[in-house]
């Protein structure tokens, strides 16, 4: 395949709410409205990790959802990038001291772009997704040749399950 900048032109985003307060999610949904119109960049908001290139995560990771987040990430076909939206996804934010909170999502999946803010502004999110798409373009796709047969539900990496000492 010739190296065309098609990844940059059509990043499909799957949005995962990982213990977020919903503030960031509402701001992300605002991106889809006519005011911000994500689709003008060719960005589609898909509901299925198997169709997605960009994983957009809001909120911090806890013992319950770490496994789910990892599973969603594992189901995405390579090349893929992760955008962490809001300070919760970056460090745990105001929930960082919660007894159940593990921290930012980089504890579970490799993050490529951090979008700051509480909540992150829609402009910043769009900017973050486009940066992520540029990173996606630079990922080496030459290595992908063989067909992989995945059983996603059994492939997720176990995350330490012991609760924090209160």
């Amino acid at each position: 395949m010739p190296a065309m900048s098609t990844f940059k032109k059509s990043p499909w985003v799957v949005h995962f709410n990982c213990n977020s307060c919903n503030g960031c999610d509402i701001e992300f949904l605002a991106c889809l409205t006519p005011v911000y119109d994500l689709e003008r960049f060719g960005i589609l908001h898909v509901g299925n990790p198997k169709h997605a290139d960009v994983l957009l995560v809001t909120g911090s990771v806890n013992h319950r959802n770490a496994r789910v987040l990892r599973n969603v990430y594992d189901q995405m076909p390579a090349p893929k990038v992760v955008v962490a939206c809001g300070v919760c996804a970056a460090t745990g934010g105001i929930f960082a001291d919660g007894y159940n909170v593990l921290g930012g999502i980089d504890k579970v999946v490799p993050v490529d772009v951090f979008v700051p803010g509480c909540p992150a502004r829609p402009e910043a999110m769009i900017d973050g997704i486009i940066r992520a798409a540029e990173i996606l373009e630079s990922r080496n796709t030459a290595a992908i040749t063989s067909v992989s047969c995945r059983k996603p539900l059994h492939r997720c990496t176990p995350v330490p399950d012991s609760p924090k000492p209160v």
Partner: protein, 284 residues
């Protein structure tokens, strides 16, 4: 006039039809966005999407699924060829139906409940629209005296005047096949989250691209099918098809979605009665 070599024609069709379909799909997305007050993606967006999907990692749930995706594509291309080369209309219907059936089987052969629900809805839609297509072919036979799809081109009067009610029913079939509201039950172009995109859920990367390309062939096919209603002039036929597609975009933005049972009822009462009335009218 030189009769074009059929081999050459087939090669040209196979190569150009997806580009044409993708262009229509791109225009569709742009116009839809403008209707909603958005700027919308570039017109070439469907090309970028397919190119990107082809470069992604191929993931399969089971290998049969891939076979069905390819069958869907192959039979869709074949039915387009049968249609444009003016072959037997009933043969065309069977091949076209099998293409959709391959899609349904592809959705059924995985364990995902979403995919199966999507497949079941697609079956419902097929049961709903197939009778109208069959009545269309019967109407064509009554008007032109031949089951050959080439016969409307030779006819003196455009079929739009002899089969006006069937034309209306075929417009509804067009809405179903283009996955437009109120009939986008099995999979939809807009609601990517609803029922998780129906029967395409378990396809990823290049295999999703195959389904997209098959859909481009399908768009070209439907465009030609509408053109047949004014087959004597290529230009007016094309304008008619453009108008029909534009109508579909408006309907898509105006209507909410019907349930599958309502779609079924609507097709077997409204659309089917319309087309049968047209057949009766031909006898009178």
């Amino acid at each position: 006039m030189i009769t074009p070599n059929p081999t050459f024609q087939i090669a040209l069709l196979i190569l150009l039809a997806p580009f044409f379909g993708a262009l229509i799909a791109g225009l569709d997305r742009k116009i839809t966005a403008r209707m909603q007050g958005r700027i919308g993606p570039p017109v070439l967006q469907p090309f970028y999407d397919v190119m990107k999907l082809l470069r992604k990692e191929p993931i399969v749930v089971n290998r049969i699924q891939v076979v069905y995706a390819f069958l869907h594509l192959a039979f869709m291309a074949l039915s387009l060829i049968l249609l444009v080369l003016g072959q037997d209309s009933l043969m065309f219907l069977f091949v076209f139906a099998f293409s959709t059936l391959a899609l349904v089987l592809g959705g059924m052969c995985v364990r995902s409940p979403y995919s199966r629900i999507g497949s079941q809805r697609e079956i419902m839609l097929m049961v709903a629209y197939e009778p109208v297509l069959i009545v269309l072919m019967i109407g064509m036979y009554l008007v032109n005296g031949s089951f050959l799809l080439a016969s409307p081109i030779a006819a003196a009067r455009p079929m739009l005047f002899t089969l006006p009610l069937i034309f209306i029913a075929v417009l509804v079939v067009l809405a179903i096949k283009l996955q437009k509201s109120p009939f986008d039950l099995a999979t939809s172009h807009h609601a990517h989250q609803e029922i998780i995109k129906g029967l395409t859920i378990e396809y990823a990367g290049p295999y999703l691209a195959i389904l997209e390309i098959a859909h481009f062939y399908e768009i070209a096919l439907l465009f030609y099918l509408i053109m047949l209603f004014w087959a004597s002039s290529l230009l007016i036929g094309a304008l008619l098809a453009c108008a029909a597609f534009f109508l579909m975009i408006i309907a898509d933005n105006v209507f909410a979605r019907l349930t599958s049972i309502w779609t079924f009822r609507f097709m077997w009462t409204g659309a089917l009665i319309l087309s049968l009335t047209n057949i009766l009218w031909l006898y009178l």
